[in-house]
Symmetry: C2
Subunit: 406 residues, 2 copies
Amino acid sequence: MVILGGGFAGLAAARALKGAPCRVTLVDRQNHHCFQPLLYQAATAALTANDVAWPIREILGRQADLDILMDEVEGLDPEARQVRLSGGTLNYDRLIVATGASHDYFGHDEWAAHAPGLKTINDAIHIRSRLLRAFERAEASRDEAERAALTTFVVVGGGPTGVEMAGAISDLARGALSRDFRHVAPEKARVILAEAAPRILSGFPEPLSRYAARALERRGVEVRLDAAVKSVKAGEIQIGEDTLRVGAVVWAAGVRASPAADWLGIEGDKAGRIAVGPDLALPGRPEIFIIGDLASACDARGQRPPGLAPAAKQMGDHVGARLKAEFSGRPKPSSFVYRHQGDLATIGRRAAIVRRGGWSITGYPAWAFWSLAHIYFLVGARNRLAVAATWAWNYLTFTRRARLIT
Amino acid sequence: MVILGGGFAGLAAARALKGAPCRVTLVDRQNHHCFQPLLYQAATAALTANDVAWPIREILGRQADLDILMDEVEGLDPEARQVRLSGGTLNYDRLIVATGASHDYFGHDEWAAHAPGLKTINDAIHIRSRLLRAFERAEASRDEAERAALTTFVVVGGGPTGVEMAGAISDLARGALSRDFRHVAPEKARVILAEAAPRILSGFPEPLSRYAARALERRGVEVRLDAAVKSVKAGEIQIGEDTLRVGAVVWAAGVRASPAADWLGIEGDKAGRIAVGPDLALPGRPEIFIIGDLASACDARGQRPPGLAPAAKQMGDHVGARLKAEFSGRPKPSSFVYRHQGDLATIGRRAAIVRRGGWSITGYPAWAFWSLAHIYFLVGARNRLAVAATWAWNYLTFTRRARLIT
């Protein structure tokens, strides 16, 4: 059987299949799994690429019945039960598609070159270079207006990623960079968070959205609501009627599923996701499972799992366990039920929001909870220690050693 | 005054000028200083980019009278005493040129695309990706001959860098990668070190060259002597009369100085280096100093400092101290005398050679000495600890966490 994608969903499925009497091949176009919840920290030089990405072969390497292939999917043939890869074809008896999602520019793909999104390690390295290079260019400039433009940063989209990025850019400018320059005062950098809706973090209750907006403003981020982006060009963005010259734009607005619906010759939803029921199998194709961000799933209780790492993991666990039972001749587990573990969003140094069941916390306790939760979920003991040490160091010294432009 | 280049020579000059009554501007096209002696470890996934490169602003950031510019030199006008940068011009009263050296393909620049050299962090990341990708492609291949070709690696040039790279690739294949694959046995990878001369490490006495060749062979490296490269193409190299299909080629043969001689409108030596006397000033231009790998220097005792980090540092120290004395109205120090601290070359895990004055050591003691010396010379206390911890971890567990393809 074949798993496409080594994100949270694909990895969980592969792990759950450990010891099953079948040969499993996991395909990913990268050789590493990326811990997306911390990617914004790599994009703002707080962590390095190696802190938030690990070789898939290291994570799953001890699973002897598992093949790992670094290759790119070019298409699927559900009739012949084949996956077409750049390097050849793979036959499957069962297929798990977990190829995730990327950014959506709402029909303006020409904006992508000037407003990179944040989904992969290369995205993070690219955004880090853009942010740091903008400060370098400002330092070299002798024109006051140009300096102000180059130290203006816009984050588009007020979801958790946008909030994290805006907070982290502000922390970077006010903290680690504040003593780096002679002609630029990074702590005067303008960071603008532009959200088209009337409030940020619309997935959270309104008081938490208000808290987050205030916390961002306290650290110098301008939060603009009802502010839709009209155009993005090199060094320029139009938000509503306002045209701004900028040093860098980060895109954290739309999500678009990978083109698996096209590969399967079916119709996706408007974000390209594929609808599946509580068994997570493709309707009419019981041998194909769709999990993670690619799935528009509806579980046995009618809940729709969100596009978050824990939901992807749970779907992977479920399908992996189900197939293992099937291959082993044991009874299949019952249908998928999503267990929501809570919502987390971090705003920056010592500010976050946590909502879980009936309660919520904000501020320093939420930030401490967020840090512990993320260290806990990181893969591998050594990495936990390394990230914890890096964070402790950064926190105590306000430095960010990862600020290389490569 | 202006310093061009943030390598060992330029940084040492900037540091030596600390507190001098003059404004110093240091220009580098990168925002980071690269610790070149450990670059081969980043190229073979033993250390990360962040372990061997640090922001120049972090290293020199506390020096308040120093400007740092990330910009590229386009030319010099010695008459007008101006440096032309991509972003504008800089005037100087004194100029220190420390722009270093790069690879030389002996007139075959078309080989560069297929045989990358190792001078910058981006080079290291590029070589790391090539090596790891070759193993990935071999794993995906179903053709035995293709697999063998993809796991054949050639290092061109038997100087210290070539010896280090060949040993490190072999260690990578036999250690960290040995359990990663199902269809490829990385420990059977062929690593070939091709040297055009009759022996490797020609800067060392012959017994040490012989020891190094034997130590390489013990770890599975084929050492080919009198083996000149005739051509390099994608996936193929011709050494002498022998044409080999290969997974990757690393170039560690020639050195070519940066084009400073052209900027100055003078004639360099055959490697493009600029001849200077014991004051390290350009003949006829007492306000311009040439230091580091760019200089073909002859010190007050007639010694020619080698193209090594300690020599570059000493030249930077000397010119910085001299100018500081001059600006402060104190007597100038006497002419430059190079103090040779010894020669070091490492072959891999637990094998190295050290030569210092009349004595030399090899094997494990030399390797331990090499490790301690490098940790000692690394910039910054935290980095020393981080590198030491990474090494200790890698040594004890045989893992290489940095093996990301980006």
